[in-house]
Amino acid sequence: MNPGSRLAPLVFFAAMLMAWEALVRVTNVPSYLVPGPWAIGQAFLGAPWVLLGALASTLVVTAVALLVSAVVGVALAVAMAASPWARAVIQPWAVVLQVTPIVAIAPLIIIWVGDPFAALVVCAVIVAFFPIFSNTAIGLGAAPADLLDLFRLNGAGTWDTVRLLRLPAALPYFLAGLRVSGGLSLVGAVVAEFVAGSGGFASGLAYRILEAGYRLQIPRMFAALVLLSLAGLAINTALAGLARVLLARYGNAPEMRAR
């Protein structure tokens, strides 16, 4: 990428901010309806630690949920690859969980799971685990037929084939799923916080957004939203970087080109 194309998104972003600020000032909209970037910045700087603390709380839930999703997703996918029985049992449940709207079952989960932190993690995992699970399952099945024959010819057992061929072959697929799940676990964490927040125990960003809304502190609400977007961007960038590092030694081998 040349410097121009690196700079272009930043210049565009700055231009959008200036246009937004100008529009808000010219039309004189009150900031409790549409705050300008300036007012949002001031709202953040007025009490930065409140919002940053809330962000940290949400990010901890997100990170734990992503980790649990990765472990559960990969474990279920491996079980499915190893046994057709496991496949028949797991597949429908995974799909049912994926299509169930989290907003509808979050209140139940929050009641059932006593610990608030664990409840948030469970909700976020339900939202986030499917892309990791389904991508890994596809990757485990995508090992080239010739290589599978080679393993058979050399008397490899199921476990050796999974460990030495199917799992490494699934890594690019897993990492693509992880990137999608990273964003989803943030969404899941925030949605769960919304539900839990009205129940009265939470400290995450969603709670701050609700609180600011009730108090008509709209600039602060926007500041929280901006933090959320930035966190999402950071997670996506970090996971893309992780994929680049882990896949460096795969080269661009035609057998495994799946990003």
Binding site: L150, L153, N154, G155, L164, Y250, G251, N252, A253
Partner: protein, 243 residues
């Protein structure tokens, strides 16, 4: 060392891949299975490797069915593990048999030397050319010291110059190792240059139409030998008659 008697194979979609194939393979021979696409020559190789089973007919090995490692198999593509180095790829068959790297290391190094890849042990497949990847693939087949080497159009995807070099190197490997080679190809020039015996096959259903012994001297100079041209002409005539 291997006898196939009245072997047939029909796939689930109704295609008759092989019909009544009988073939004896002598130990130490270099046999080319030559024919157009779809004549069942790859199916025949897979049956011999035990990757597929015949519907009828029998397949008998003189010394009983082959144990893992007694057969080396080389595919049309190099089919290397892209995340593993050349040495790790060659190590794979030994690793699957439970050997530790400390035991297998010298054998892996020796196999890489055999195919002319000493110094490339740590190279990843994507850093190697197509010809070198195929050399790694051949080293992987040789590392278990197989008695029989089954090769399924291994050089078909390479350019002419690389192919000639690999063919010559394969011939000298065969002379050094004394193993039996069954070589599937659709190139009659390749078959005429490499093989001591050429089994001609025709498609739909796949069957053997001719069995030709080669009188071409074995070596790089064979391409310029008049007997090579005669053999090519001979095969061409048989192919015309079969069509």
């Amino acid at each position: 060392m291997l006898s196939l008697t009245h072997v047939s194979r029909r796939f689930a979609n109704g295609v008759e891949a092989l019909a009544d194939v009988s073939l004896d393979i002598a130990a130490g021979d270099f046999v080319a299975l030559l024919g157009p696409s779809g004549c069942g020559k790859s199916t025949l190789l897979r049956l011999i490797a035990g990757l597929d089973v015949p519907d009828c007919g029998s397949l008998a090995w003189q010394d009983g069915p082959p144990r893992p490692g007694m057969l080396g198999y080389v595919f049309q593509d190099a089919t290397l593990l892209p995340w593993a180095s050349a040495a790790e790829n060659v190590f794979l068959p030994l690793r699957l048999r439970g050997l530790a790297w400390s035991e297998a290391g010298p054998r892996v190094a020796a196999a890489l030397v055999q195919v002319g890849l000493d110094g490339f042990a740590d190279a990843r497949p994507h850093e190697l050319s197509g010809g070198m990847r195929m050399r790694v693939s051949i080293a992987r087949a040789l590392v278990t010291r197989p008695r029989v080497l089954l090769m399924d159009e291994p050089f078909a995807a390479l350019d002419e110059f690389t192919r000639h070099k690999l063919q010559e190197d394969l011939l000298s490997l065969w002379r050094d190792l004394g193993c039996t080679i069954l070589f599937v190809t659709h190139s009659l020039y390749e078959a005429a240059f490499l093989a001591r015996r050429i089994v001609l096959m025709s498609p739909r259903p796949g069957r053997i139409v001719h069995d030709i012994a080669s009188m071409v001297p074995s070596g790089a100079e064979a391409r310029l030998d008049p007997s090579y041209a005669t053999l090519v002409a001979d095969i061409t005539r048989h192919l015309r008659n079969a069509a």
